[in-house]
Symmetry: C2
Subunit: 123 residues, 2 copies
């Protein structure tokens, strides 16, 4: 078994939907995008760093296939995204890529740094 872990680090985000500050909208987008990509959400947790919610947010979706994590820094117009999927019963790589691409597009970032890790679960 193996897995693939995709990351995208975004800066200079235009963020037309105010996702960097709006935790509820960010959570809803993550859930919908995961479902649209064919991944199964089994639990979620989001946290707002400012008491009034008008600061950065951290969120995760626990997936049957592994996880999605997002962190926002509105004061820096920056976001990090992680999508990790294991490829056990089937190859979920295309679903992970579709989820990441869908999310990246919504932030309208000036710069996107992507990385890809192979996770060797049982060498």
């Amino acid at each position: 078994m193996h897995g693939v872990h995709l990351t995208a680090d975004l800066s200079g985000c235009r963020d037309p939907a105010n996702l960097l500050r709006d935790g509820a909208a960010l959570a809803a987008l993550c859930e919908q995008s995961a479902r649209d990509a064919g991944l199964r959400v089994v639990a979620r947790q989001f946290h707002a760093f400012a008491p009034d919610g008008d600061g950065g947010h951290t969120g995760v979706l626990l997936l049957a296939e592994s996880h999605l994590a997002v962190h926002t820094w509105p004061e820096l117009r920056a976001v990090t995204l992680d999508v990790f999927v294991c490829n056990r019963a089937s190859d979920n790589t295309a679903k992970a890529q579709a989820l990441l691409d869908a999310l990246v597009a919504r932030f309208e970032a000036a710069r996107v740094a992507r990385q890809r890790l192979q996770r060797a679960l049982v060498p």
Copy 2:
């Protein structure tokens, strides 16, 4: 600002404390290890994949510094660990390494594959 993301993929786990199947023990270990490393836990979410809890678990800790994620596959004696920290107010790399090392040690794995990503948040 930048961040560091450490991963460890473990297989052949002896798992003397039954952490691969005991979600409550796994969650408690993660929380205690994060605090011991000097990281601040702001929220957590764990999920058991088998109805009786006797299967794999997925868990995350949301940290003030970013996140920890763990996935277990008891039937494969395998675990993946991720620790991501941003280094904004201070350099949290040593804390991330300490947390990962503390967790890796507890599973007594035959094989540990480690990777390290630099996350460039604002190039």
